[in-house]
Each structure stands twice: as structure tokens, then as C-alpha cells.
């Protein structure tokens, strides 16, 4: 386990941006952004420009009023308007996706019922690309779940715009089969007084790497980014965020928690928050906590906070990685609770606060059960 607050994030804002994979040099693994990622396990995603040889399918049930889902062409002006790839694999996915899936929440529509979109991988034989555009119009409110299941080798980009006064709760779930590989770039652009709550849940997959970035365009924007991950033996789960405060009076909170169990379980969290000189009145906090359940697991945790103005409401970061608290275990056991059950209670408690951010009861319960099943599997 390592915890460091180093890495000069100033370079993040000036990073190379391009829609063309050829503009990015081939990855060597020495790059700051890729030094934790096992490139070999990315299979075809480290290659150059290519057509998709694999597919993912989208499934969704009847949509509530105010929400539409349609396929749009890549030359639709919306595509690429929020997100410009900042790394080679994101650019590869951008170029490789043949079309984009548009999820639209109509202006002023307040949609109580959550919308669930399942992204189903159909095998790891080929390389698949995806592009999703989520458009939440002015004063609309919605909850969208993007759930990833099945097997795939996938590079995908997700663009999200939350217009003035709109609110989006976006839950992205990586519950892939054991052999799946995914590198996702998710970018959120917030309008004036717009609010996004993003919850990433990473459970399944051989390698899942998600890069989430937030851009503010006007005052009053709020972003809450939560993450919950549980790495088993052999899994690599990596989460990076870049919250770029470029306008005054916006707020961000980043809270990620992970549990690791088993030989070579590996997680990476890198949280970058930039407060530009013009972003006065910013209020931000980021925290990552990791719970090492067994020997042999490794969690890297790197908070980076760069502040270019002193006129802010608040800014802070924290990171803690530790083993199971023996005193908690002892206390529960002195009340007759067997060790395995005591561990379950503590891990469940560790994740409870984050799970409760998901406003979809069925999903919350399913994820809670999946976490318990993992603990049981390890005989914890």
C-alpha cells in the first residue's frame, strides 16, 4: 500500500487533447497516468486505430416519460462537444465507435423512476468500442443507471451534459464477467446551478479503469463523485478523477472506498482537483479509504489538490488505507457474533454510506448481496 500526495497536477490541465489516436504516442507504461495500469492485460486496447471486432449490446426496458434513447451518428454536433480524449485509449474508443447512443432527459422533465441501461459484452474475442451521450436539459431531474455486464474488451467514452438548473444522479456499475477489460472515460459538463451525483461501483472484471472528469461552465455547479470498489484476487480496479474548478462558486466532493481481498488484488485511486485562479468561492473535498482484508493485496491512493487562489470556501483531501480493525472485530465477537459474520458487518458498514447514495433500492440490495457473497467466497 502506498499513499502519496506528489505528482505535479499542473500538467493535467495542459494535457494533450485530441480525437485522433495517432496524435498520442504508444503507451509504454512509464506515463504518469498509466504507471499503475498493467498494459499487457489491456489486450487489443493498446494498439493503434482499428475497426471494432467485438460488440457490446444495449438493453433497456420501457422508458419513463421525458426520457428518450436513440442512436445518433458520429457526425452529430453533440458528439465530442463535451469530451475530447486526453489519452490514447480514449481516443481509440472515440475513433472506433461507429455511432453513439443518446440518452436524453427532456427540458423540465422530473423523472422519478430510475432509467437503467445495460451494456452487455458479447465476448472478449474482439475489441469493442462504445460512445454514449447523456443530455439532461434545463431544469430536468433524473436518475440513470449504466450497468456493464458480460465479457468484453471495451474502450468507451461517456459524455454527460447537465444543463442549467438540472440534476442528474448517474450510477455506473462495472459488474463484468471475470475476463472482461474496460477502459472508460466519463466526462461531465455542468451548467449554471446544475448538479451531478455520480456513483461508480466496480465489482467484476479482470481490469476496469475509469477516468471521470468534471467541467464547470457557470456558477453554482455541484459535483459529487462517489465510488465503491471491491477487488478480488487477480483483479485490477483503477479509478481516476479530474475535477477542474474553472469558474467561481462551485462545489465538488469526491468520496471513494474500496475493499481488497486475495493475492494480487489491486486497486488504484488517483483524485485530481484543480482550483484555478478564477475559481474563487470553490468548496471541495476528496477522500479515499481502502480496507485490506487479506495479505497480498495492494491499494494505491494518490490525492492531488492544486489551488491557485486563496479565496475559496474550503478545500481538503484525505486518504487512508488500512487492515481490518482487530478491535472492532474483538468487540463484535465478545457479543457472541462469529468472526465471519463480524467481518461481514464491518465491511457492510464500510460500504453502507456509499451504497445509500444509490437511489435505486433493487440495485442497492443486489450490490449489497454481491458484496456479501464475495466475503463469503473468501471464507472471510
Amino acid at each position: 500500500m502506498t499513499t502519496q500526495a506528489s505528482a505535479p497536477p499542473s500538467t493535467k490541465s495542459q494535457a494533450l487533447r485530441s480525437y485522433d489516436v495517432a496524435d498520442f504516442p504508444a503507451l509504454t507504461g512509464l506515463e504518469e497516468d498509466w504507471r499503475f495500469t498493467p498494459l499487457k492485460r489491456l489486450r487489443g486496447l493498446t494498439g493503434g486505430a482499428q475497426a471494432a471486432t467485438g460488440t457490446v449490446r444495449h438493453e433497456y426496458a420501457d422508458l419513463p416519460e421525458g426520457v428518450t434513447v436513440e442512436r445518433i451518428a458520429k457526425d452529430d454536433p453533440r458528439v465530442g462537444s463535451v469530451l475530447t480524449p486526453v489519452d490514447r485509449i480514449s481516443a481509440l474508443g472515440y475513433g472506433g465507435a461507429a455511432e453513439a447512443l443518446l440518452v436524453r432527459v427532456a427540458r423540465e422533465a422530473v423523472v422519478a423512476e430510475p432509467v437503467t441501461l445495460r451494456v452487455v459484452g458479447e465476448g472478449t474475442d474482439g475489441v469493442a468500442f462504445g460512445h454514449t451521450f447523456v443530455e439532461v436539459e434545463r431544469f430536468a431531474e433524473a436518475t440513470l443507471v449504466l450497468e456493464h455486464v458480460g465479457s468484453a474488451t471495451l474502450a468507451d467514452n461517456v459524455e454527460v451534459t447537465v444543463a442549467d438548473g438540472a440534476k442528474l444522479t448517474l450510477v455506473t456499475v462495472a459488474d463484468w464477467a471475470d475476463d472482461a477489460v474496460q477502459a472508460q472515460h466519463l466526462k461531465v459538463k455542468l451548467g449554471r446551478d446544475a448538479r451531478v451525483v455520480h456513483v461508480q461501483v466496480s465489482l467484476g472484471g479482470d481490469l476496469v479503469r475509469q477516468y471521470t472528469s468534471v467541467e464547470y461552465t457557470d456558477r453554482g455547479g455541484e459535483a459529487e463523485l462517489y465510488g465503491l470498489y471491491f477487488a478480488d484476487s487477480g483483479q485490477h480496479l483503477e479509478h481516476r478523477q479530474l475535477v477542474d474548478h474553472t469558474v467561481p462558486d462551485c462545489r465538488s466532493y469526491v468520496g471513494y472506498r474500496g475493499a481488497l481481498q486475495g493475492e494480487s488484488a489491486r486497486t488504484v485511486w488517483v483524485g485530481d482537483v484543480l482550483i484555478r485562479a478564477e475559481a474563487t468561492g470553490t468548496d471541495t473535498y476528496e477522500i479515499n479509504r481502502n480496507l485490506l482484508l487479506t495479505e497480498g493485496a495492494r491499494a494505491d491512493s494518490v490525492p492531488n489538490l492544486e489551488i491557485e487562489t486563496g479565496e475559496i470556501a474550503g478545500a481538503g483531501h484525505a486518504s487512508a488505507t488500512g487492515r481490518f480493525d482487530d478491535e472492532q472485530l474483538f468487540y463484535l465477537m465478545t457479543r457472541g457474533i462469529p468472526e465471519a459474520e463480524a467481518r461481514r458487518l464491518v465491511v457492510r458498514g464500510f460500504f453502507a454510506e456509499l451504497l445509500n447514495k444509490i437511489p435505486v433500492e433493487e440495485l442497492r440490495e443486489r450490490l449489497g448481496a454481491a458484496i456479501e457473497a464475495r466475503l463469503a467466497k473468501a471464507g472471510a
Binding site: D326, Y331, M333, R335, G336
Partner: protein, 257 residues
């Protein structure tokens, strides 16, 4: 009718460097249900070590002697098995368990101790009643275990558990420390209710005689240098109140610093 028998118990604490440091140098003590024993002694005499060693804390290693509950070898049991066998430890510093609600914790513990889930129909009332008797707002049931509780609230929560779990033998480790007079009275009333059932043997570990004005012990044991150096009835507590522990200090064995 239950009996906890501690015979010639010798215990060392495991130091971070792996070395063992002897703390208890041969403790003999018998506690039967319905009896109330007080163990009194100066700081560092090993009183708490006795409590934690009997409960099975992994920091301590038993280097000699025996502990049995109704003839069963307690030292062979895991921590949770000891609790299910009927032992209870009220801690001096109850542990915070974030994310686990008091209600969930107590129901899980009750289920484990009884071997069956408590009846839904009666459990809610039983829990509420136990909390109210200890002057705990029932809203605490929805809070995380001990998280953000004041010192007094933590101690009252321990006694709520004592009343709900109905152990055969309960060890109360400095339950009185850090309590103001009102809280001490509430906690003592709870302990006395358990005592009055006659089903539980109580072992009160305390530094002060103050709590013994509220809970009258049947037996008082003076603990110095990792062992019992004098035993008697409640009158011994009065003597300690007047004379302190100084007269035992001379000739006492090595005690924890």
C-alpha cells in the same frame, strides 16, 4: 447456577517486538451466579488484563493456569464462543463500529447468543425498554455503534447489552470511570437489576470505591502486582477508601508500568 473458576492464571501481553511481558502472576478467583465481586487495585496492577484475557483478546497470551465455566475449558474457546458460553465483557473503552447500527448490532448479538433470532413481535419493545431503562433515547438504535457517543452514552450502551444478552458471568471493566454522578446512578441501577435476577455473576473491576456505594459487592479482592493480595467482604472496600493502596505497594510483584 453457573460458576466461573479462575485457577493460578498467568498471562503475558504480547509486545510489538514479539516479546512476552508477564502481567498476571497467578490469579485465583471463583464467581458464581448471583454473586457480586469487586476487584480493586491501583493503575497498572493488571485488573483489565484479567478481564481481557478471560474474554480472549488476542493481545494476551495465557502462560499458565486455567479458566473454566461450569467445568468447560474457556481458554480453548474462541472469543465469540466464550460469549455464547455465557461470558460478557463490558469494556472500559467500547469500540466504535462505523456503518453498523445499534439496532442491527444488538439483534445480531442477541441472535448469536440465543441461537435463534428474537421474535419480531417482542424484540422491538424489549430493545426500546432496555434503552429507556438506561436513559438512552431510542433514536440511538439507528445510530452507528458507539460512533459519536459520549463516554457516558458508551457505558450505558454496554449495560443495555448486559441486560439484553443476560450472560451467566459478566465482567465490568471500569464501567464507572468517566461517569458523572447521574450517569453512575443510572448505570448502577442497570447493573443492580441484572444482579437482582440472581442469574448472573458479576465481576466489577474498579479503581475507585465510588461505584461500590451504588452496587454492594459480596466479595472484595485487592489486586496488586498481577495477583490478588487480599480478599474480604464489603468492609474491605471501606478500608481501601480510607487507607488507599499504598500499604500493598511494598513487597508487591512486578506490575505493569
Amino acid at each position: 447456577m453457573s460458576t466461573l473458576e479462575i485457577r493460578d492464571l498467568q498471562v503475558s501481553v504480547k509486545l510489538p517486538d514479539g516479546e512476552l511481558k508477564p502481567i498476571l502472576t497467578g490469579v485465583d478467583l471463583t464467581v458464581r451466579s448471583g454473586e457480586t465481586h469487586a476487584i480493586m487495585g491501583p493503575n497498572g496492577s493488571g485488573k483489565s488484563t484479567l478481564a481481557y484475557a478471560v474474554a480472549g483478546h488476542p493481545k494476551y497470551e495465557i502462560t499458565g493456569g486455567s479458566v473454566t465455566l461450569d467445568g468447560e475449558d474457556v481458554l480453548e474457546l474462541s472469543v465469540d464462543e466464550r460469549a455464547r458460553a455465557g461470558l460478557f465483557l463490558a469494556m472500559q473503552y467500547p469500540v466504535e463500529v462505523p456503518g453498523v447500527s445499534v439496532a442491527n448490532f444488538l439483534r445480531t448479538a442477541k441472535t448469536a447468543i440465543d441461537g435463534a433470532a428474537p421474535k419480531l413481535r417482542t424484540w422491538g419493545g424489549e430493545l426500546r425498554g432496555a434503552m429507556e431503562r438506561l436513559h438512552m433515547d431510542p433514536a440511538f438504535a439507528q445510530r452507528n455503534v458507539n460512533e459519536g457517543f459520549s463516554g457516558g452514552e458508551k457505558k450505558r450502551h454496554e449495560i443495555v447489552q448486559l441486560e439484553l444478552l443476560k450472560p451467566k458471568i459478566a465482567i465490568l471493566d471500569e464501567t464507572d470511570s468517566g461517569l458523572d454522578v447521574d450517569a453512575l446512578r443510572v448505570v448502577s441501577e442497570g447493573v443492580n437489576r441484572v444482579r437482582d435476577t440472581g442469574d448472573t455473576g458479576l465481576l466489577l473491576i474498579t479503581h475507585y470505591t465510588r461505584i461500590l456505594r451504588y452496587i454492594k459487592p459480596d466479595f472484595v479482592h485487592v489486586f496488586v502486582g498481577g495477583r490478588i493480595v487480599e480478599e474480604g467482604g464489603p468492609e474491605l472496600a471501606d478500608k481501601l477508601e480510607d487507607e488507599g493502596y499504598e500499604r500493598y505497594a511494598a513487597g508487591a510483584g512486578s506490575a505493569r508500568a
